[in-house]
Amino acid sequence: MITLEHVYIEYTKTKIALRDINIHVDKGEFVFIVGPSGAGKSTFIKMLTHELVPYKGSVIVNGVEVNKLKKSKVPYYRRKLGIVFQDFRLLQEKTVFENIAFVLRVTGVRGKKEIREKVNRVLDLVNLRNKANAYPAQLSGGEQQRVAIARALVNRPTLLIADEPTGNLDPATSEEIMDLFNNINHMGTTIIMVTHNKDLVNAMHKRVVSIEDGHIVSDVKKGGYDLHA
């Protein structure tokens, strides 16, 4: 699914963000990326989404050599990824339904019936069909994040990337969201999740990759947050 070999990313000529990253993630895995602030976790994710391109090494996702991707091919590559952010990034002036349909429209889906079916499918998945006509401001944080997850899933990605998805949520809601990710993972979607949330990582017993100061310091199969320390 994902293979990184000797990947180096620099912010500036003197400041290296990631150095010599080697990792392999199989299809269907659930991987936590943990580590202190500024360690390079977000950079790691931006590399997968082709926002940052390594100056050395190779990044292969879904069989695509991301570091050599042509600019014009980047949009088509991104359609196979689902991305979820800490701040949800929903469009406030669009309803829940429209926020999700928007993704389909901007990637060229035109049929009204097709759009309705696809949006309803993911709304059922996150259990928000009854809020389809609500605006984001009318929803709780947890519900907004579920909409964002539904939006990330609507193009049926094989890889779901989440950057601190519970960072803005209270513990109980965070657990709900984690359960949702777990369900999605059980349906076969590979998940890469950056998080600070110790308790959640410890409770999930998934693979944990720790990044510190730009390189991987530990990679444990059924790990916890502090195992490497």
Binding site: T49, E51, S72, P75, Y76, Y77, R78, R79, L81, I83, R89, L91, F102, V103, R105, V106, T107, G108, R110, R151, N155
Partner: protein, 297 residues
């Protein structure tokens, strides 16, 4: 391209939505574009008319070849034969010394008595030539002035050169003004679009993340700029057309029709098309500048 055709309706809806949403800004930029396009159009019309007049006067100019005194009839005829062979000659006439004197007398009118004080006839005989091409006239003038029998050659070079100098000055200042105005329009349109883009930066960001192509994201904004440019230059062209019509009518009423203005049609159509084209292009360019920054995700 197929993406573009499939999504055309979507683009138009987005563009219309955005223009309505920012209607005051859109109207302000349309009016500014109208104003600068109008000034641009006025200059264009003036410069083109000046060129037209200069060309017209040039084609009207005759050349006078003054012969030396004391030539034999054969020599005079010989010069005539050689002049006849000049390229692009359209008219050739001969005026002998007596005819020249007669004409001069007529021109002096009441004061013709002065000539009685003159001994003999100091006026030369001359050939008068017209050419179908102004350039040929200049070449012929240079050539003929070398003939041994020819005293001097004269044509309205001074007037033409003056006219050309004036039209050149207008043309240069016109070009400077046009560049300046186009730059200003570019700035105004790109600023308007920048506001739209800024208001929708989150949307653009999400579009980038979910895999919308750059073209798809860009087109609604490009359309918006193009429409502002098109409407602005359209209004300017319509006003200019109407004004040119009024000016021609006024000139006719004032008896100024001897001034060779360019006829309204198809001249104004060409000016209009030029302004519309420039408006669309500038609008598109202005938008392209504004969205560039937001496309890098």
């Amino acid at each position: 391209m197929t993406c573009m055709l499939n999504s055309f309706g979507y683009f138009l809806r987005e563009t219309a939505h955005s223009l309505i949403h920012n209607k005051f800004m859109a109207i302000a930029s349309v009016l500014t574009v109208t104003l600068s396009m109008f000034i641009l159009g006025v200059f264009l019309a003036v410069v083109l008319n000046m060129n037209h007049m200069a060309g017209y006067l040039e084609s009207q100019v005759e050349m006078s070849v003054y012969l030396k005194d004391g030539l034999t009839t054969e020599q005079v005829m010989g010069v005539g034969q050689r002049l006849k062979a000049l390229p692009d000659l359209s008219d050739l006439s001969f005026t002998n010394k007596d005819q020249a004197m007669e004409e001069f007398r007529e021109r002096l009118g009441d004061q013709a008595a002065i000539l009685d004080a003159v001994n003999g006839n100091p006026l030369p005989s001359s050939y008068r030539l017209s050419f179908s091409r102004p350039d040929s006239l200049k070449e012929a003038a240079a050539q003929v002035s070398q003939y041994a029998e020819v005293e001097s050659v004269q044509y309205g070079q001074d007037i033409i050169e003056q006219l050309y100098k004036v039209s050149q000055a207008i043309r240069v200042s016109g070009i400077i003004l046009i560049v300046f105005l186009a730059g200003a329009e570019l700035f105004i349109i790109s600023n308007t679009i920048r506001l739209t883009v800024f208001a929708r930066r989150r949307e653009i960001q999400i579009m980038k993340y979910v895999g919308a192509t750059n073209g798809f994201i860009r087109w609604p904004f490009l359309f918006e700029g193009m429409i502002i440019g098109l409407v602005g230059s359209g209004i300017a062209s319509a006003v200019l057309w109407e004004l040119y019509k009024v000016m021609l009518n006024e000139a006719a009423a004032a008896g100024l029709l001897f001034i060779p203005f360019i006829g309204i049609y198809p001249f104004m159509l060409h000016v209009t098309l030029l302004l519309l084209g420039a408006g669309i292009l500038i609008g598109m360019l202005g938008s392209a500048i504004s969205i560039r920054k937001y496309m890098k995700v």
